[in-house]
Amino acid sequence: MDYSMQDLMAITAMQGFAGLSFFSVLLLMALGLAIIFGQMRVINMAHGEFMVLGAYTTYMVSTLAAGLGPWATEYYILLAIPLAFLSAFLFGMLIELLMIRHLYHRPLDTLLATWGLALIMQQGFRSIFGAREVSPNTPSWLEGSWRPTPMIDIPINGMAIMALTVIVTLGVVWLMYRSRWGLRVRSTMASREMSAAVGINTRWVDRLTFALGCGVAGIAGAAFTMISSTGPTSGTLYIVDTFLVVVFGGAGSISGTVVSAFLIAQGQSILEFFLGSSMAKVTTLLVIIAILMMRPEGLFKSKVRR
């Protein structure tokens, strides 16, 4: 088949965007986990379910908005995102209080207990929202594509997610590395005893860190409703991908997660273009595992002493 130069340019541009779009989705999903795992060494197997919690919150807001008239269905998402964060944040706090704080010295056990939590949450979603997958109506300003040239279509919802990812990432980085609270978090992780001794309430630091991670997962879930549907078991689809992003990035740092999400997303997206989705996925996973075997600490070594 012959393609004109213009065709190839257009496809390259769109393919580049597809990779970036996948990158922002992956990063948004992994960010919450990176906070929890990276800072607290807690494995949260219910991470996917916290995303679904955010997604269902968005769905509820959209359903309520539908009753208020057309202006509400257009802009409900602006309210849904903070609410998704809030619901996941509060629920995360509750879980930390009831469960996680008892398990800090047993990372493998947290993994198992949060899996149990994931099962309970899944059934909770099913009992409340039904087994059928739901998808909130997309506001019309998020539908369709932006067409800079007749050849190129850039999905608007993809751009919206990208913008959201940038905002959330900057917010998290600011919180962790620029704010006083972040300083407390990092000092607690470096030395719990010393931090407690200088008057940091380490218990609250733990609780807020965990809740923050869950809240960010909630935002990811809200964003996800723009591109896919939500069902009670949707969360399990994302576990493996999200964990690999964090582990591959080297658990200690947010920047590691960003780089790793970028590499994995671009890699998989390019492979998909040439190999098809199934083989691309297998190849990506194998490459990640192979690299992890050579560099078990991930791309960026954690500077925190364990």
Binding site: R41, G116, V282
Partner: protein
């Protein structure tokens, strides 16, 4: 009683083993019809994996979320043999290429792939079931443990491997039967595997093999090797500085767990009559861990009880209250991890056993206070805390 023998028989000792043998070999066969026995046999096939997890996770500290992989290798090896036996040129005469499994024919494969060839031989198949899962586990273990991958990293990598395996099995349906799996298995050396008689035989074979595997596990733990393994779990660096090559201990125990899982998989295929990727994926792989955790991560016998209990709870409770089932199993899992990390076996040891012993002493059936050389339950949590 000398110490080695006591270790061999586990903390519960001989009575525990005898009670389980009585339940599985006498009580169940006498009280159950063939279908229930077959169901029990399926749960027992999962128990092989759980026993392996007790060794790898409970004693070795290696939490694998990918045991479905090894279960699957064993199960698929068995299924490949049975499928070839069922695909005689006569039975498959309507196919474009008679003599190959039907699903290959549907996928335009015109000759048996090379890796299917050896599965014409039962001897090879049995050898494959006994060696492939162990070798594969050893390979993974070698790659990971010599690089000191451990803990949650190990758990996540094994989980990713299961994901890869399922995508491959489903995607390469011409060679694997895809999402339907390898179905319509009929005979084993000409002997119909679906008759009542066959199902009973498979049940007893499963039980006998399961006891063999448990005995093997007990023996391994009783050796010096077993002690070093436990010490490694609790104080890895100290063992390393003592001059032991820690990685090889881990590789061995992981391979052993894989070996056990493979046997379980093969027995599963025989009893169910097919093998499919839905049995080896991420979720079944985590369920194996649930079995081991409920039974007690330090108890080989507990793993069997855990598999049976969760299995039966699923078929009875889930059917009566489908809405509540996930709540229940999730809550049980959380409760076990938080309040009874050593599972049923742990609860038995701390709550029931002292009373039983006191009762036995009071009745005069056992001489006074238990001997002081009874091995004390090793508590990794306490050990870990001590390290901190």
């Amino acid at each position: 009683m000398n110490n080695a023998l006591q270790m061999l028989l586990g903390k519960k000792g001989l009575p525990g083993l005898l009670i389980l043998a009585f339940i599985l070999l006498v009580l169940f066969p006498l009280t159950m019809d063939v279908d229930s026995l077959n169901l029990t046999g399926r749960f027992l096939a999962f128990a092989f994996v759980a026993v392996g997890l007790v060794l790898a996770w409970g004693y070795g500290g290696l939490l694998s979320l990918g045991q479905g992989l090894f279960f699957g290798i064993g199960g698929y090896a068995m299924a490949m043999y049975l499928k070839l036996e069922a695909s005689t040129p006569e039975a498959t005469a309507i196919q474009t290429t008679p003599g190959i499994p039907d699903f290959m024919d549907w996928n335009q494969i015109t000759a048996l792939p090379w890796f299917w060839e050896p599965f014409h031989s039962l001897t090879f198949t049995v050898l494959a079931i006994l060696t492939l899962p162990a070798l594969f586990a050893a390979f993974i273990g070698f790659a990971l443990f010599t690089r000191r991958v451990s803990g949650v990293f190990f758990a996540i990598i094994t989980q990713a491997m299961v994901t890869i395996a399922t995508i491959l099995v489903i995607g390469q349906q011409g060679y694997t039967g895809g999402v339907n799996g390898i179905t319509d298995l009929r005979t084993l050396k000409g002997w119909d595997i679906h008759t009542d008689q066959a199902l009973v035989v498979f049940y007893f074979a499963t039980v006998v093999l399961l006891f063999a595997v448990i005995a093997l596990g007990m023996w391994v733990l009783s050796t010096k090797y077993g002690r070093i393994l436990m010490a490694t779990r609790d104080q890895e660096n100290r063992i390393r500085y003592s001059g032991y090559s820690v990685a090889y201990f881990k590789i061995f125990i992981f391979a052993l767990a894989g070996f056990m899982s493979g046997i379980g998989g093969a027995m599963f295929t025989l009893q169910v009559g097919f093998m499919s990727p839905s049995i080896i994926g991420i979720i079944p792989s985590i369920e194996f861990v649930i079995f081991a955790a409920v039974g007690g991560r330090l108890s080989l016998l507990g793993a069997v009880y855990g598999s049976l209990l969760v299995g039966y709870a699923r078929v009875t409770f889930a059917e009566a209250f489908p809405q509540l089932w996930l709540f229940l199993i999730g809550a049980v899992f959380i409760a076990v991890v938080m309040f009874a990390p050593y599972g049923l076996a742990g609860l038995y040891n701390t709550h029931v056993r002292p009373r039983v012993e006191a009762f036995l002493v009071r009745m005069g059936w056992r001489p006074g206070a238990p001997p002081s050389d009874t091995p004390r339950a090793i508590d990794p949590q306490a050990a870990q805390e001590a390290r901190k």
